[in-house]
């Protein structure tokens, strides 16, 4: 194994970045979408600058940018499984509170919920998922697997619970189909998964058109 996995560094770094992003977004002087652009492009720039003075653009960097599920070590796999279980369990435990807070933070706070604590929790859970997914999907494509399943499910399902369950199923299916196709036709795994997601999104949009057209 020799080399330690980048995950041990990237998990704490991304978690801290997520909390900082949240704080910037709250301070209303910079809107959160601009804050995201600010942090993500600057950190990408720092990364590129550091690589160019050290190793240069090699396969490892390319793997990080576009992901490589085959480059994952056994340790990475165990870590990913552990993180996934932790995230799923925490999500179920705090499901009600996370719903109230994301839907209406002021209402939640007026009802005595410690909103700050839970928005931090959401940020950290998302960060963990992103770090784990980054190893498979790469920096450039990770946002798509976070966003696609939810958007896809929202075409057809109209309640939070159904959207959550459907997103889970959609993303697992897209992943499995994507990996199979990429193996079959020798295409890069990350991009195949995103393309499968796109196809499912189009199918769901068509279903929406048919079902809700009456």
């Amino acid at each position: 194994m020799g080399i330690t996995s980048p995950l041990y560094i990237s998990i704490p770094v991304v978690t801290v970045a997520a909390v900082i992003l949240l704080k910037i977004g709250n301070s209303s002087k910079i809107k959160s979408d601009s804050a995201i652009a600010l942090i993500s492009s600057s950190s990408l720039a720092i990364g590129a600058a550091v690589t160019s003075v050290t190793t240069g653009m090699n396969t490892d960097v390319c793997n990080m940018m576009f992901g490589s599920i085959l480059a994952m070590s056994m340790a990475d796999v165990y870590l990913s499984v552990a993180v996934s279980i932790i995230v799923a369990v925490l999500f179920v435990i705090y499901y009600r509170k996370l719903f109230v807070i994301t839907f209406d933070e002021n209402f939640a706070r007026a009802n005595g919920l410690k909103a700050g604590r839970y928005t931090n929790l959401i940020a950290i859970l998302t960060a963990l998922i992103i770090v784990v997914g980054m190893r498979m999907m790469g920096v450039m494509l990770i946002s798509s697997i976070i966003i696609f399943p939810a958007l896809t499910s929202m075409r057809v399902f109209k309640s939070f619970k159904k959207v959550v369950i459907s997103s889970g199923i959609v993303s697992v299916c897209a992943f499995l189909i994507g990996i199979y196709l990429s193996y079959l036709y020798n295409i890069s795994t990350g991009s195949t998964i995103v393309l499968v997601n796109l196809v499912i999104f189009i199918i769901f949009t068509l279903i929406e058109k048919i079902v809700y057209s009456e």
């Binding site: 179920v92 435990i93 499901y95 009600r96 509170k97 719903f99 109230v100 994301t102 839907f103 209406d104 933070e105 002021n106 209402f107 939640a108 706070r109 007026a110 009802n111 005595g112 919920l113 939810a150 499910s153 929202m154 399902f157 109209k158 309640s159 939070f160 619970k161 959207v163």
Partner: protein
Amino acid sequence: MEVLNIKNLCFSYPTKKNTLKHINLKIEEKTFNCIIGENGSGKSTLLKCILGLNKGYTGEIIKQNRIGYLPQKSEIQSNFPASIEEVVLSGTIADHIKSIFYTKEDKAKAEKIMKELKIYDIRKKCFADLSGGQQQRVLIARSLCATENLIILDEPTNGLDPRIARQIYELLDHLKKKDNITVLMVSHDIERALKYADNVIEIKEGKVVFKGKPSDYELGGAKK
């Protein structure tokens, strides 16, 4: 009996000193109260102090029970996948805050309130797909789930057309009469506030400059 008693409340934001200056206010039960005043006069700040969203005030706020709250509209809600049922049910969150799931009582409470507000038949619909008036009706239902007797609303008729706005006022009036709910709301619509409210409270530059019956307010206004 009063459901809310505010004694000598003062509050400053870090960037804006003396937003509220020595507010004294009693809200009697089973009354419809409207807070009016210009933008930036401190109306919403007062509500936020009452609800405990603004910390660090001086003075005293005595609350009898939990309060149901209807905040100003937020952007997220217009694109959020949630059914009416889920939104109303979420109002019961504080009843069993430790529990992982909603209890049977929570569900029964939400169902009763949805039936009363005539949104039970559309409970599976998506909140974001509703009209503005229907959305406010759902949020009123949610605030009723959160309280026994007092709801606080922050400009609930903002952006609604006049006919729908009237329906909201009528609904609140109905809740007051039938369910003994005390209503405290911030309103920009002075005309309607005067028509439906039992008490009008005018705030100007952080001070209560008028408190009393709508008829007295109109007289005072005529003198000016």
